[in-house]
């Protein structure tokens, strides 16, 4: 009994990981094709403002819709919010992956790399991708309501990676100016 539950859980987890990888890859392709997640001039967008992330995952709107007394409206609301929340997770994940890719390309040519800083960025990146995976899985299963804190944490980590990348770019530009 215990073994069959463990096998079922492992299969579920595997399927979830497959779906997550497939969706993030397709999401990334879509963003690259439309240029949605990155600015045209190559600057990194600041991401979705925290107040909107909070709103997507908040319970207030669900309470309002529940109060209307229509099961169909409530179901429609859940579908809509789930779709927006999943889009945010995919976008955040794809955007951060793009930032890290650009960062790794840039750091290959750099001679004054700080190992601790680089390791910190990569650790944060790994943690954020894991968090996005957990969010994706949980939202798919249960909807975004109640995940406000987890989403806020993922958003804060993503913001830190964006800031670290901006700092790296600024330092590189300064070095270039000094070199001139």
């Amino acid at each position: 009994m215990g073994i069959s539950i463990a096998v079922l859980a492992a299969v579920l987890l595997f399927v979830a990981i497959l779906v997550w990888v497939k969706s993030t890859l397709s999401g990334q392709e879509r963003f690259s094709a439309t240029g949605e997640s990155l600015r045209r001039d190559g600057e990194f967008e600041s991401g979705c403002p925290a107040e909107f992330v909070k709103q997507i995952f908040a319970k207030k709107d669900l309470d309002y819709v529940s109060g209307l007394g229509s099961a169909h409206l409530e179901k429609f609301f859940q579908q809509e919010r789930k779709s927006v929340a999943l889009f945010w997770v995919q976008q955040t994940s794809a955007q951060i992956r793009q930032i890290i890719r650009t960062h790794l390309q840039a750091s290959r040519g750099s001679q004054d790399l700080e190992l601790a800083t680089e390791a910190g960025i990569l650790l944060r990146y790994g943690g954020l991708q894991f968090l996005c995976g957990v969010l994706f899985f949980t939202i798919t299963l249960a909807g975004p309501q109640g995940l406000q804190e987890l989403a806020a944490r993922a958003d804060a980590w993503a913001q830190r990676i964006r800031e670290a990348q901006l700092g790296f770019h600024a330092a590189k530009e300064t070095g270039r100016v000094r070199g001139v």
């Binding site: 979705c48 909107f52 709103q55 709107d61 229509s70 609301f77 809509e80 779709s83 927006v84």
Partner: protein, 149 residues
């Protein structure tokens, strides 16, 4: 110096737009639709005859763009209940038949044009989703019984 003069000028045009035009529109959602309608569908550039006459065309365009973006973010941040109220006010002021209005808006989704060109994609999604929900709620209320949105 030139940049400062330009900024002040855009601010003046923006204030003028708020005072003379936008303040006459009774709801924020109506202002959003109005500002989106000043944008050319093909080129994505804004134009307002009166504003362009009082200020330079480029300054007027910039003021319209800023106002559009600001109102879009304000409306997108509304809780669903407030958005339903806004949409209801807009519907009333449009003087259209409410059932026809709701049917057309649900089928054609004309509110899609209200999204600014450089809007954050997640916020744009949230906006569209909230409008769909608000329309479904208004329809539910009008019909007075549970319906498929």
């Amino acid at each position: 110096m030139g940049a400062t003069v330009r900024l002040v000028s855009v601010q003046d045009a923006y204030d003028d737009l708020l005072q003379r035009t936008l303040s006459r529109i009774p709801c924020e959602f109506g202002r959003l639709i109005y500002l989106a309608s000043t944008r050319d569908y093909n080129s994505g550039t804004y134009h307002h005859e009166g504003l362009a006459t009082r200020f330079q065309a480029d300054t007027a365009r910039k003021a319209l763009e800023i106002a559009h973006r600001q109102i879009f973010y304000a409306v997108s941040a509304y809780p669903l209940e407030d958005l339903v109220r806004e949409l209801e006010t807009y519907l009333q002021t449009s003087r259209e038949n409410p059932d026809g209005f709701l049917r057309a808006w649900q089928k054609l989704e004309p509110y899609r044009v209200a999204i600014p060109l450089e809007a954050n994609p997640t916020i744009a999604r949230l906006f569209l989703s909230n409008i769909r929900l608000a329309l479904a709620i208004l329809r539910f209320r009008r019909e007075g019984h549970p319906t498929h949105p």
